[in-house]
Amino acid sequence: MRNLFLSALVATFACAGCKHGPKAPSNVIVVGEYGSLTGSEATFGQSTHNGLSMAVAEINGAGGIKGKKVQLVNYDDQGKTSEVGTAVTRLIAEDNALAVIGEVASSLSIAGGQICQQQGVPMISPSSTNPKVTETGDYIFRVCFIDPFQGYVMARFATNPKDKGGLGLKRVAILVDQRQAYSQGLAQYFAEALKKLGGQVVATESYQGGDQDFSAQLTRIRDVKPEAIYLPGYYTDVANIAKQARGLGLTAPLLGGDGWESVQEIGGAAVQGAYFSNHYSADEKRPEVQHFVDRYTKQFGKSPDSMAALGYDAMMLLKNAIERAHEGPLPAWRTSVRDALAQTKDFQGVTGKISMDKDRNATKPAVVLEIVDKHTVTAATIPPQ
């Protein structure tokens, strides 16, 4: 029994170890995707994947790119660096991906980007907003704005006088999630922009993502009487913070970033009237947006968040670049796609008009959304700097 069991185990691994991934036929364009389909940021990864696969279905439905069908190969990375390395290596070396669509979390996009850069494979990150992501090298792009801009957007909105569509505030407290680089970065850029625009950071407190009790930090924030509280964290924590802040009698408006997506569903009454910066607004009247929202809602039974929209845009932008690139054998083709991506100008995406700047970041407007009931309403649109 024991020996049987052991040899069965060994045999299983031996068989599985020598199995190779499916080799793509030559009339197919392979696009790789790595994302957190499981793990703590799985909701973002799944939304991105939904948007991506919808784009791929649309492209293939319309006859593919230059007559070739697109095949999306995706691997789950559990939100771990080492898994990202394996997934990206496999996409490049085994699946021969022409290009790779990156992660949501910036640190993971950097880890994957290093490999793509080294192997000369173009990578587009749909929604990693940390500036360091595209600093990895000239093969790394993104379709979202970057955190310095996002911080500026909210600072601008907060300090703009009321008659110019802003909130007319000066004194803001910040509560930052030390566990997330995203939150650390956003807090820093917001504070810098706020000071430049004549505002003042009256308190900076921190927490660890996943904490349940924020009363100590919120009490200290209450003591300095801020006019608003900036919460650059993810929606689950933000909802908890909002509820406890209201419980402690803090009535100052809450401000946040794109990590707030879907906070209204769990924040309830506590987040009413709060504002956050985001990539797009589903209530926009542009035909691209309406077409996307309708199709997505029909297919997945819920309205698309901005991760889905960015995933969709990343794929569509890639399609646009592949169409402009010179087809050929792999290494050269990849370089050509990279060059085409770098020259992207005024691409009409769901999340706005996208142009690549010299640092391979998308320059595009951002929206500020206000939470009303279970929905969000566009409160302002801030153009690129």
Binding site: F13, T38, D76, Q117, Q118, R179, Q184
Partner: protein
């Protein structure tokens, strides 16, 4: 466990040299035969790191019978310790942070791995001294807390300095710029399979020779019965601390290798070293059989491969992984090999 006599020190060194040389040759063959940037290379790399992690934890959890669940904390210290040496140390020596594929560059990497190991070992000593007077659950809680403290402190560090910013920050203060939650990602990697498997070979030899030595027997006596060990004159606290320091050193080496991801740059972020990483190592040790070196090795290899094989079932990967673990633990409650080694299965069954 077969009751074999422990081996005297000079003979032990002699008996280690040949396997060491053979092992290093095998590592060199791997280095030369596996194409760089390939999928196989990446998986072999992950396996190597996990083997070091599991076998080192086995010294504490398996041989000495202490329950540590903060191994990722030591790994984190080793990772950051070694990146600091290759990045900031490299800047101090070469005047830039680029990869130096010369003898001095690779010596720097060697020194960085050792330095990472020493930092972790020092932490192992500091944690070990007070906490190893605790037992069982209480020790587990302290080690868990230690691992989390390391992670939280690393998250609060300021951003990594670019070469252009180095001048503004005086010497030693630079090493505190560890990148915060984003991680230390723009160092250069000197790593390859040769390095990784050389470390694996050293780890396995040290673990095996250690267990067969007088000190190893003392570890085992602590595991089997602490009071009896004390009664025959074994300084149990000292041996427990020693086990912790050795295990931490190798966890630090594993961290250094892990941080210098293959080929590309460095990738080390605090969140990577959370308690889940510690538990992964504990699972490998328990699955392999507490105290079995080959057991921990085989479990580390099997579990690393398993996560790769299960990649094809996508979302259900973690469910399948957990189910398999449960099944194995039901069928073999003492782990795959129990306290025995793989070669014990091929010997004549002269004992239960």
């Amino acid at each position: 466990m077969t009751p074999r006599p422990s081996v005297s020190t000079p003979r032990a060194i002699g008996a280690s040299l040949l396997p060491l040389l053979l092992g290093l040759c095998a590592a060199m063959i791997l280095e030369l035969s596996i194409p760089q940037g390939s999928y196989v290379e990446k998986i072999l790399f992950d396996i190597g790191v996990n083997v070091i992690l599991a076998v080192s934890l086995n010294i504490v959890n398996g041989l000495t019978g202490q329950f540590s669940i903060g191994h990722a904390g030591f790994m984190a210290l080793g990772a950051y310790g070694s990146i600091v040496v290759t990045y900031y140390g490299g800047y101090a020596i070469f005047g830039d942070v680029l990869k130096h594929t010369t003898l001095s560059g690779y010596s720097l990497y060697f020194v960085s791995l050792i330095a990472g190991g020493l930092v972790a070992a020092a932490a192992g000593w500091v944690v070990g001294l007070p906490s190893l007077r605790l037992r069982g659950d209480y020790l587990a809680i302290v080690t868990l807390g230690f691992g989390e403290i390391i992670r939280v402190v690393l998250q609060a560090t300021p951003p990594v300095l670019y070469p252009s910013e180095m001048a503004a920050v005086p010497g030693w203060e630079r090493v505190l710029h560890l990148g915060g939650a984003l991680g230390f990602s723009h160092g250069q990697s000197y790593n390859s399979l040769g390095w990784t498997y050389a470390a694996v070979v050293v780890m396995l030899l040290v673990a095996y020779r250690l267990r067969e030595s007088t000190h190893g027997r003392a570890f085992l006596s602590v595991r089997e019965n602490e009071i009896a060990a004390e009664a025959i004159g074994v300084n149990t606290t000292r041996y427990k601390v020693a086990a912790f320091v050795i295990a931490a050193f190798f966890a630090g080496i594993a961290g250094g290798l892990f941080a210098h991801q293959l080929g590309a740059g460095t990738a080390s972020r605090p969140e990577e070293f959370n308690f889940m990483k510690s538990f992964e190592a504990v699972i490998m040790v328990v699955l392999g059989g507490m105290g079995s070196i080959t057991g921990a090795t085989v479990a580390a290899i099997a579990l690393t491969l398993l996560t790769e094989i299960l990649r094809s079932v996508q979302d259900y990967r973690l469910v399948a992984y957990s189910l398999l673990l449960i099944v194995v633990m039901i069928l073999r409650p003492k782990g795959l090999f129990g306290t025995r080694e793989i070669w014990d299965f091929f010997r004549k069954k002269d004992q239960p």
